[in-house]
Every structure is written in C-alpha cells, then in structure tokens.
Symmetry: none
Subunit: 250 residues, 2 copies
Amino acid sequence: MLTAERHRIILDLLEKQEVVKLQEFVDATSSSESTIRRDLSQLESQRKLKRVHGGAALLQQKREEPSVSEKSTKNLQEKLEIAKHAASLIRDGDCIFLDAGTTTLQMIPYIEAKDVVVVTNGITHLEALLENSIPTYLTGGFVKQRTRALVGRGAVMGMEQYSFDKSFIGVNGIHLTYGYTTPDPEEAFLKRLAIQLSQQAYMLADHTKWNESTFSKIADLHEANIITSECDEELWKLYKEKTFIEVVKK
Amino acid sequence: MLTAERHRIILDLLEKQEVVKLQEFVDATSSSESTIRRDLSQLESQRKLKRVHGGAALLQQKREEPSVSEKSTKNLQEKLEIAKHAASLIRDGDCIFLDAGTTTLQMIPYIEAKDVVVVTNGITHLEALLENSIPTYLTGGFVKQRTRALVGRGAVMGMEQYSFDKSFIGVNGIHLTYGYTTPDPEEAFLKRLAIQLSQQAYMLADHTKWNESTFSKIADLHEANIITSECDEELWKLYKEKTFIEVVKK
DNA sequence: AAAAAAATGATTGTTTATGATTATTTTTTG
DNA sequence: CAAAAAATAATCATAAACAATCATTTTTTT
C-alpha cells in the first residue's frame, strides 16, 4: 500500500471517530505499528491531526465553514441579503476593513461606492476585490491552512498601520452577557482590533448566531452595530437596549 | 502508444482513484516503468498531479497557471531546472523568503526539506505552499493587480518582522556595472530588503537576463549568489570575480 | 533516403520505505 | 511512590522504488 493511500485512510477514520487507537489504524491498513507511528508523526507535522498517547485525534478546529456546503439555500439567501445590505452602507471614498469569512466575501460584488479602499485578512477575498477593481491591502501574517485567513503577530502589525472608516466583521455568536464571540482566539483578537481601528464597526450575523456563544470573546455588544436578518421580536427587545441593530428584510 | 495518450490514461486513472501505484500505470498503458516515471515527472511539473513514492496522487487544486503555460517550452524548462536547483539548497528547518514571481513559484513542488517555514510576498505562491503543507507567512501590503505581488510600506513592515536563513529572488537584469536590476522600484526595494534580512541570498535568472539592466537597482553583484543555467563561458569569467555563480546544467 | 532528434526500455547504483527488534518514556496499577 | 504494563522512539537490515545512464528504436527533419 502506498503512503499517500494510508494517510487518506488514517484521516478518513479520524473524520468519523474524532479519536482513533493505533491498533485500529494497523487493522485498517494492514501495516505495522512502526509504519503507522511514522505516518502519524508526518501527518502531525503537517497539522492534519494530533497525536495522543495510544493513537491520534482530530485537530480541535471547530469548523467555521464546513457548514457552507451543508447550509440550506435559505440560509445562503439570508447571508446574501445581509451582505448586500452591508455593502450598501459603504460610501464613496471609504476605507474599509473586510474580515475573512464567507459573509464578508459575499459583500464584494455589491460594493457600488467609488474610490473605496479595502484592507482584509481574507485571502479568498482577493480575487473578487481585484475583479471589481478595488484597491486592496492585505494585512499579512500566518496563513491558516483551513480558512486561508491571515492571523498572528504579522496580521496584527499589518492592521495597526491603518485606520478605517468602517469595518465589517463576521461573528459566530451574539450573546447578552458574553457579547460577540468566535471560536478561534487568534481571530477574535484581530476582529477586536478591527473594531478599535474603525470609526464604525458592523458585526454580520444570520439568525443562527443569536443567543449563541463560542470560545473567544471579541467585544461587548455596545462596541459595534449588528447587521442581521429578520428574527424574533421578543429577542431583539432585550438586545436593542445594548446596541444598534440593522435588520435586513427577507 | 502516443505520449499524449498515455498522459490522458494516467490522469483518468487518477481522477477515479485519487492515488495510483506505478505498476497500475504500467499495466494500464503497457509501457515500461521508465516511461511512466518520465510521464509522471512531466505531469508533475505541469501541476497535473503530485508524485508520491510508489506512484502518484491527485492534486487537490486542479487550477492551472495560465501565465506559465504561455511561455516557450524551452525557456520554461530552463527556469524549471533553475527552480529545482534552488529548491535543493533548502535544508531542514530553514526559514526561507520566496520572492513573488514565476521562477520562485516553480521551486515549491521541489522543496524536500522538512520543517521549512516560508515567508513570501507572492500571493500566487500560496496554493502551492499549502498544498505541500509548508507553514506560510505573507508579508502583507498593497496587492499589485497584474502580478498579485505584495508591495509598499505594508510589505516592508511585514518583512522586517522576520529574518531568513536563505532568500530566493527573481531578477530581470544582471550587469557588471549596474548589478541586479528589476523594472519596478517598489519591488526592487523589497528584493533589496530580502537580501539584507537573509544569511544568504540567491538571485534566480535564466540566460536571457545576462548583461541586461532594467530601471531599478536591487543590489551589487557581490551581495548575493546567482543561480543560473548554462551560458557563455567567456561572459562568466568576468562575473566570477565579483560573485559566486551556481550553474544548473541543461 | 539519410541524418538528426526524440522517445523508449533495460541496466546500474542510490535512496527511500518498511517491519522487526531493542531501548526509552509514559501511563497505569498495586 | 514504586513496580508493572503499555506505548513510544530509535536503530537496523531488507526490500522496494528511485534517478541516472545508455543502447536501441521510433519519429521528425532535411
């Protein structure tokens, strides 16, 4: 059996089980323990998994975007409406920060303002931005394998060179007590920084993010506006005391 | 059997299986191992597949590099050899700067050293780097529309955070009196900075760059080594007094 | 049709991957 | 906390796969 083939089997097993014993890999591939150990070492150094005593575990990457393909058309439509509305807030001559992520990516084709300059940490945004002839600056930093987002010290320093009229930021959770949250602490730090460097920050969230909280706090509710889609009126009453909410009609 | 025919069979097999053993290719095409090996090498340098010990694997990214395929085959081959040689200079654990540009891009599939970290200002390099599981940092900065290179103050600041074991830099002109040159002053400045931040800098140039000079000076000849392909002996005698030249055989 | 160029398959030393073995580290158990 | 058990890392011999070379065949050019 080929090395690449074994690696595939190993990763497939992990996808199903989260944590897998060494012996299971041995059985699944009919190779020796030595070989599997070597495979696990390699895959770990490639950041494909994490070795644990007795086997290997899936990397703790709370998948931010696996849902992209899963999500219903309706949710996609919802995100698109949010993105359109967000884009309409941009004025001629604005200097904008666009956070990495699918919702902010969707904004790009709908930016109609002239002489806009964009700074982003999302490499996936680049093609769309250049296609629309929007002058673009990248923050720099470490490239996250999974999301192609720029993070780390380099990204922080890259951002600190600029200040923004408006920033548009994706969030994974909006919560009365925990504020805005996202799974990755690195990204949370950058999102927070973006808010601080902006005249006005907008948090983009579809209805599934309400009353949710994830690992890393970005900021308190009052520090940014929320752009979201139609949702429960009762819920909003509580939040509206704390921050400003722009609602996109479906 | 025609070469093109074999190549099609090879790629078709890969589409079906993801990972295919050399012997399977041999059986499917009734050719010798040598021939298949040659085919796989070619297809790899065309980024149609990835060679693995024992066979070949499908690339996750099937996108082709149009700018590369335009160039003449001969010059491409020459550049490829230069790139291969450059890649072979990288040692385990090295921290590398890869300049934007097609020649440095070609190096990536041939980097065999382990635990290499790459910093680059070439956005086009990203996919290939991540494909090879190489941890990558981007410098940040302004995105040049045409070349997708990062330039400007942001790129300078992004680079100054790091120091490199080796840097690999493309040049447009090598000249006895004018030194290394390139058309864009912004890029020249970055290339110069890369040399200063590196233990050892290598300038990559095919034979068309000799005795040429373009608008912006990068550095004097002695400040970096040259990696180039076979060329006029007389010419070299002059240059060899000034700097070290590594020659790639055609 | 002859000469030149390219492609092919066999041969060669060299490198790489593998599984068994042994030594070391980590975890569990009494 | 120490001894036993399990898992891991390190080493090594072997077998497989590799790149490089060369003679031969096929194709292209003149």
